[in-house]
Amino acid sequence: MSWNRKHLLDIQSLTAEEIMTVLDTARAFKAVGERAIKKVPALRGKTVVNLFVEPSTRTRISFELAAQRLTADIINFSAEASSLKKGETLKDTARNLEALNADIIVMRHSASGAPHFLARFLRASVINAGDGAHEHPTQALLDAFTVREKKGKIAGLNVTILGDILYSRVARSNIWALTKLGARVTLCGPATLVPKVFEQMGCHVTYNVEEAIADADIINLLRIQHERQRLTMFPSLAEYTSLFGLTKARLARTRPEALIMHPGPINRGVEIDSEIADSGRSVILDQVTNGLAVRMAVLFLVNGGKGPQEVAA
């Protein structure tokens, strides 16, 4: 029941026990967010840098608020307004941030493995806030937290991830987390976006949406990422909706207790019917609230043991 990692780079290398430690810690931080004074001094005097080389709003704001609620100082660094535009390398940018004595660097980058690269030479802790199509560990942790909170458990549940799997770091991190915690994961979407090779990660792949959602306890919808698709992977958004969108007719054929999740931003009328998104079956806004608690927990955990070490008595 402890955490001994300096960085959070991916879910793949975590043990089930480490994932549960994050979820348990996040439970304590969620309670902090429900108080009149939503702040604790756990990271007082520490500096957190949001190094977002790829644009992001919700993840950046979530980390920013999480750091503030832990009383850390936070600097936001975005690629558009930085020296990266002037030709500075990522390594030099990071070294400059470290020269300012940054303690934790939260990084979003369009290249898979960029946070791992930084972690190799920085003294600061690195938290991966999404690297290319590789992983988005805090999203998977907040999804797992939400599932456990709503269902009381994760092991044995049927979780269906529906949509663009190929380009999705959320899908990869979720598959790692959920399979490690004992859930049965089914992937579904257009064949071009859901390669069979994903079965090697221990999940079931189907192209029949009715089969995918019939026995699901959780249906996690992923956004169609127009910005990552260099080729046309399906004919039109309207065709995607008619074949894979979560419509009211399809929802009627799911288990009544099945919950709908979505990492956001949602495209109403594309992957999800607008009324379903606002219904009691949707836990999309709970995911946002829980994301804050999970990011507080991750910042808190990687901060452990970073200062002068106590001499064992």
Binding site: A28, P41, K306
Partner: protein, 180 residues
């Protein structure tokens, strides 16, 4: 194997808690405003039992909460992060006499963290401290209001408190660490 001496057995712990409950009642003549807050983990079991005893003495329910002070510790970056339990205080602390309950009082740093954590929740009228064991070696100017037993110790010794809630029997032991 370290040598262990039993300092308090189950009956002695029960007697100490009964006395502390009476002392809390006596000290706070108008007990309407008293609330107990147990510090994880041992303090929570003790606060639950004290709340039961105190409710009996006063013939009215005494509110009780539990607190993890991990977020307020002063050594967070010196060791691996602790696993936190949720803090559950189902009442408003403002205006109340809050009695913090812990199993062992040692350096005083946990109590310091608990004081800050309570203040973050509101403005109590008073904060008092009840502990089962005071083993000395304070590093901060903190003193308990209610003590089950004072146990002079050396820094090489360890106090272990076991609770029936954890599946064994109630017992406090003093263990001497053998030199390695």
């Amino acid at each position: 194997m370290p040598k262990a001496t039993v300092i308090l057995d189950a009956a002695a712990i029960e007697r100490a808690l009964t006395r502390i409950a009476h002392e809390i009642a006596e000290r706070n003549a108008n007990c309407a405003g008293v609330a107990l807050v147990g510090i994880h983990r041992g303090g929570v079991f003790l606060a639950q039992r004290l709340a039961g005893l105190l409710s009996g003495i006063l013939s009215q329910k005494v509110p009780m909460g539990s607190m993890d002070v991990g977020m307020h510790r002063d050594d967070l970056d010196r060791q691996p992060a602790p696993t936190l339990q949720p803090t559950v205080i189902p009442f408003d602390v403002t205006g109340k006499t809050v009695v913090l309950v812990d199993d062992v009082l040692f350096s005083g740093r946990t109590t310091r963290a608990a004081l800050d954590a309570v203040m973050d929740l509101g403005r109590p009228k008073q904060i008092q401290l009840a502990v089962l064991i005071d083993r000395g070696h304070r590093e901060l100017p903190i003193k308990a209001d209610f003590v089950g037993k004072n146990v002079p110790t050396s820094l090489q010794e360890r106090i272990r408190v076991r609770f029936r809630e954890e599946g064994g029997t109630d017992e406090v032991t003093l263990e001497k660490q053998e030199p390695a």
